[in-house]
Symmetry: none
Subunit: 420 residues, 2 copies
Amino acid sequence: MNIELIMIGNELVSGEIADTNAFFMAGALTEKGFLVTGIVMVGDREEDIREALVRALGRAAAVIVSGGLGPTTDDLTTAAAAAAFGEKLVLHGEILDQIRMRFARAGLEMPRANEKQAVFPSAAEIIPNPVGTAPGFCLRSGGKLLFFLPGVPRELRHLFLETVLPRLESERKESLHYRSRVLKVFGLTESAIADRLREVDPSLFYAEISYLPRYPENHVKVVVRGVDPAEVEGNLAKIENAIREKLEGRIFATDRETLEEIVGRLLKERQATLAVAESCTGGLVAHRLTNVPGSSDYFERGLVTYSNQAKQDLLGVPGELLAKLGAVSAPVAEKMAEGVRLLSRSTLGLGITGIAGPGGGTPEKPVGTVFIALAGSDGTAVKGYRFWGDREQVKGITAQTALDWVRRYFLRNGIAGLRK
Amino acid sequence: MNIELIMIGNELVSGEIADTNAFFMAGALTEKGFLVTGIVMVGDREEDIREALVRALGRAAAVIVSGGLGPTTDDLTTAAAAAAFGEKLVLHGEILDQIRMRFARAGLEMPRANEKQAVFPSAAEIIPNPVGTAPGFCLRSGGKLLFFLPGVPRELRHLFLETVLPRLESERKESLHYRSRVLKVFGLTESAIADRLREVDPSLFYAEISYLPRYPENHVKVVVRGVDPAEVEGNLAKIENAIREKLEGRIFATDRETLEEIVGRLLKERQATLAVAESCTGGLVAHRLTNVPGSSDYFERGLVTYSNQAKQDLLGVPGELLAKLGAVSAPVAEKMAEGVRLLSRSTLGLGITGIAGPGGGTPEKPVGTVFIALAGSDGTAVKGYRFWGDREQVKGITAQTALDWVRRYFLRNGIAGLRK
C-alpha cells in the first residue's frame, strides 16, 4: 500500500524548523510494511496545499497530511481540503463544546480564534484529539484515504498511533508480517558497531539492519519480514541474539526503554536508593532520573554543587583538597560521591565533576575533562574521561556515562566490577 | 525568486534518516531572501525522480536536487535528469582522472563502480567537489536553473555554499531585502496572542506574521520584505513595536536568545546570585541555568530535595509543616526558597514543589498542582498553579514559569511587583 505524506507550514519550507513528523510517521509506516513513496513539504498557501493534495492522491492509495489545523489565520489546511474536493465547510457544535470545555477546565475562556478548529469539510469523519484542541479528520475520495492531523508533534504522534495506523492496517489487503527491534548501544561508535556486526548476515534471517546515531547513543535497528508470524518472531529472536553476542554488554536497552528507566528498574528490584552530587552536569542527571514516573522510590536527593563553597558546605569536600588539586580531580569526585551517599543515607552515591566549557579549560585539564565516582558500601570507584564536544554535548555524554555506571554496577556485581 | 528542493533517497522516505540537507539549504536560502515554495523527498526510483524534476521546474525558477549521485546501482539521479531533459549521458575523462587521483592519494585503487560518477548529461556544467568523490552539476532548461548535489551532508554544504548560493544570488533580478525577527512569548496561548494581534495589520509594513508553538513557549515570527534596506529595517522596528505594545511584558526574548540566557544576563548585570531548591522539576531548572556558558558567575548551587527528609535536612523545612500541609503547599515552597537562599548566601532563592504525575495526585491536589516561591532580601512571593499535561510537560512548564519569575522579579522591581 503506497502512502504519501504532506507536511504543511511556512516554518518547514523556510528552514526554521526541522521536520520530525514526517520522519516519525515514515519510520512507523515502513516498520509496518507500508511503502512511503514521497514526502512533500509546502508553505501555508492554500493553492500549494490544494495542488499537493490532488497530486498525492493521484500517486498513492493513502495520504497523510500534517499541520495547518491551528486557530490562526495562517492555518489553511481545512479550507484547502474542502476546496480540493468540492466540499462545504461545516461547524460542528459538539466539537466546539469540547474545545470550550477544554479551556474551561483550565479556568480559561475560549478565544474566538479557536472556533475555527470546530469547522470541517462536510464529508469529513472527525478524529477526536484527546491531547490538544485541534481534532484531525479523515476524508475518502475514489476509494482512497486522506488523513489530516495537527502539526504539534505530541498530538500528531498520538492521533497517528491511535487512529491512523490501525485504520491503515485494517484496510490493507496484503498480509506480510513485520517485526522490528531497536537495540540501544552506548560506548561504541557507529563504525565500530558495523565492524563487529560484519559477520552477522541479515539475509539469513530475512532481516535488514540499519544504524541510527542518536548522540550520545547509537541505535541498531533490525526489521524482519515474512509471511508466517511465528517464523518472523523466531528470526527476530535469532538475529537479536547474534547481534547481542557481538556487542555484549554495550546494549543497555531495547525499543522505547531509556537508560534512566533501566537504572530505575535495577535500583527498584534491589530496593536500593541513589543520591547524586553534580557539578559540570548541572542537574541533568537528577533531571533524567526524575523523568521516570515513580523515581521518588529510589531517588532521594540531588545536589548541584556548582561552587567550591557548595562542595564544602553540602558534601564535606575538604577545602585543602579543592585548593591543592582543583575541583576537577579524581579525589574530589570521590569525596562528592561518598559525601552525598553518607549524608543522604542512600545505597549508592554518584559524584560528577568536570569542565563543560567553553571556558575554564587549561592545557592539563582541557574542556571535556570529567571525573565520575560511584560510592557504595563496598567502596568507591572513580575514573577520569576526556570527552569531546560543545557544552551541551559534554553535559550530555557525562550524564549518560554516569547513569551507565549505575547500570554496570549492578550487572558487574559492585564496585570491584566497575574498577576492572 | 521561487526555489524548490528535491531530496532523493530511500533512507529519507523510509524514515531511517532524518533530513538535514533540505533543512540547511531552506534556512540559508530564506535568510538570503529567496522563497522556498516546496521540499519534496522521493525514493531511489528513476520514474519518481524524473516526475519530481519536471513538476518542480513547472513551479519554480530554480531547483536544487540532492542525493543519488553515488557510485552504487541505487544512485539514479544523473540518469533520471538526462531522461527528463532528453539528453545523452557522456563520460568526462578529466573528471574520471580526478576521482582516480583522489583514491590514489589515499593509497587505494578506484573501484569500477566509481566510474559512474564521471558520467553527466551532455549539456551539464560540472560543479567540482573538492571534499568528496561525487561532483555536482548544473543544467539550464527554459531559462530555469537546476543544481544537482551529492547527498553527503558535508559535501552538500560545501558545494551549496561555495557554488550554488553565489550563483543564485548573481542570477537574481530582483534585489529584494529581507529581515526577520522572532519574538518569544510565554504565558499566553497561541490563540490568545492571535486575538491580541488582530489589530496589527502586517500588510502596512510589508510584513508577514507567523506563529510557532514551542511548548511551553509561543514564538511570533515577523518577516519584512522590501527594495530599500533602510525602509525594511524601519518597517521591522515599527511592526515589532506594534506587537510589543499588544503583548507587553509577555515577550521574554528575541531571535536565538533563551529564557535562561535572559535570566543569566539580568543576574549578571546586577551582580546577583541565584540558588534553587527543586522538588517536582527534579533538577531541570538547574540544568537549564547551567546550560548557559559562564553560569557559575551567578548560579551557586541547586538542591533537588525529592524526599521530605531532604527538605528537612538540607533546607530546614520544619517536619510539622510537612506533616500538616504536605510537601506540596505554599508554606513549604516559601520555606524551600528562603532556606536555600539563606544557606547559600545567594541574592535570590527559588523554591519549587509540586506533583508531576502520573501518580501522586489527590482530589484536592491533582497532578499538575505546583507551588513556586521566590525569596529575596525584600521578602518572599509564592503562588500556586494547576498545570496541565504529562510528567514531562508539567516539569517543563514549571521550570519555565520559575525561570520567568526571576526575569519578572528584576523587571518589576522585586517581590512587591511579583505579588501583584
